[in-house]
Amino acid sequence: MLKKLKSIPEQVIRLAVILVIIVVVFVIVRAELVPDDFGELGHYRKGAVDEIASLELKYAGQETCEMCHDDILETKSNGYHRSVNCEVCHGPSAKHSEAPDEFLPSAPRKRDFCPVCHEYLPSRPTGFPQIVSASHNPVKPCITCHEPHNPVPPETPHECSACHAEISRVKSISHHAYLECKTCHEVPEQHKLDPRGNAASKPATREFCGKCHAEENEDYPGVPQIDLAEHEPRYVCWQCHYPHMPEAK
């Protein structure tokens, strides 16, 4: 064995010693630099997860608000804003929940806050209540008429456009602009108070549109008319034409 070692040329032994030193230094330096918990769960520092988990909370959460403000919760739970959590309008309030008197959450009172959600935008889903703030009681702050925790309109809206803004706008520039909504829809009395429980009716037959648009009808000169029996009899009218913006040529 010793003989074998001796037969290794000296330069190889030196190289081997240097290599061993490099490896040992590498091991020591790495052990010093790499944190103990690195690589325990994966290629990362386990402690980082706990550091991120212990960051400060800014929003208290709806459950926290409910612990004290049960009066407002009751008002809110029956109104249209029941799904809107307190901190949507009042801002982050974790500090308030810890020291209620020292930190007061904000309460938006200006007219420019509510339109963030309720200004009319064509991109918003239909059915979501929207207004055009420029023409909807200008200057008055929203809260003079609407209680924000239960925002029923102060009076039942007369116009369908109060809720069906998208449709009324499209219709207003269409050939059907002068038709009233109730020409085609039967609207139950209760619809304005409980819209989903009392849905308005929709026409069901080709003959309904035919009242104006069938050829044999001579009461409406200038109205585009078709032969009901011949004109695409397989379909009902609104499968091709959008009644609020009929795009016939």
């Binding site: 918990d37 690589g39 386990k46 550091e51 991120i52 909370l57 959460g61 339109p115 991109s123």
Partner: protein
């Protein structure tokens, strides 16, 4: 001839030595590794065991009204810089005109809400799409990190270790969803954490908390009953950029094909 054979044996021994010493590079890991059980939760909170959870989010595009409260709340909760190009979540407005023309805008990420633009053209379809880190099952961002500063935690949330991040921005380049940014002061990468500090306290992420129309549904991906699982069962679900096989854990209901 004899000498040659002797030489070749020595060479063999030399290579053996080289290989052995090369293997010693891998020694440190086995030397330093602790024998902690892998089931031990990385969070030091006795009420939260990370192994019991797999978080995900679903966004119902039909419900989003584009108020941008989520983007605002995210900035409040996570101290995201207020400049209009640092976002952990933001809202995009899609306007789809005929013939493949799509206009997407996101003024200040939607933090101030959206406003009408005075244009004469009516889009064929228009809607809002909230976006955030997709918390991919196969995250491209963690793979490129040279120092192990960003990772998928055991509950499926992609996190950044800000003490370990060297600010090289590779992950920002790698994210196909543009969900990361370099913090202008700390110069480290930051991203949505699903409000991890809220999750461990049994609270929902800030954006979910403030969404007035419940367009964001948050919950467990793999439990039998959770709001998210029920929603997935009831609705038609899509993900962003499915062809990349990132397997996002942020799902979208009623997703339009034009959404990229």
């Amino acid at each position: 001839m004899k000498k040659v054979i002797e030489n070749s044996i020595e060479r063999k021994a030399f290579f053996k030595l080289i290989f052995l010493s090369a293997f010693s590079i891998f020694l440190p890991k086995s030397l330093t590794a602790k024998n902690s059980s892998p089931e031990e939760s990385p969070v030091q909170d006795e009420n939260y065991n990370a192994y019991d959870h797999k978080w995900g989010m679903c966004i119902d595009i039909d419900k989003c009204i584009g108020c941008g409260r989520c983007a605002n709340a995210c900035k409040e909760e996570n101290d995201v810089p207020r400049e209009p190009f640092f976002f952990r979540t933001w809202v995009e407005r899609y306007k789809i005109f005929g013939k493949g023309e799509v206009v997407i805008d996101s003024p200040n990420g939607g933090v101030d809400g959206f406003h009408n633009e005075h244009s004469e053209r009516n889009p064929e379809r228009s809607f809002f799409v909230p976006k955030l880190c997709n918390h991919c099952e196969n995250p491209p961002c963690t793979q490129v990190c040279p120092v192990g500063a960003t990772f998928k935690s055991v509950d499926g949330v992609i996190l950044v270790d800000k003490d370990y991040c060297i600010g090289c921005s590779y992950c920002i380049q790698a994210c196909p969803y543009g969900a990361r940014y370099l913090h202008p002061v700390t110069k480290t990468a930051e991203k949505c954490t699903f409000c991890y500090h809220r999750l461990v306290n049994d609270k929902s992420p800030a954006c979910v908390e403030v969404c007035p129309t419940q367009a964001r549904i948050f919950g467990e991906m793999e439990k039998k009953s959770s709001p998210l699982v029920r929603f997935r069962r009831m609705e038609k679900i899509g993900v962003l950029k499915p062809a990349l096989n990132t397997e996002p854990k942020v799902l979208y209901a009623h997703l339009d094909m034009e959404v990229k």
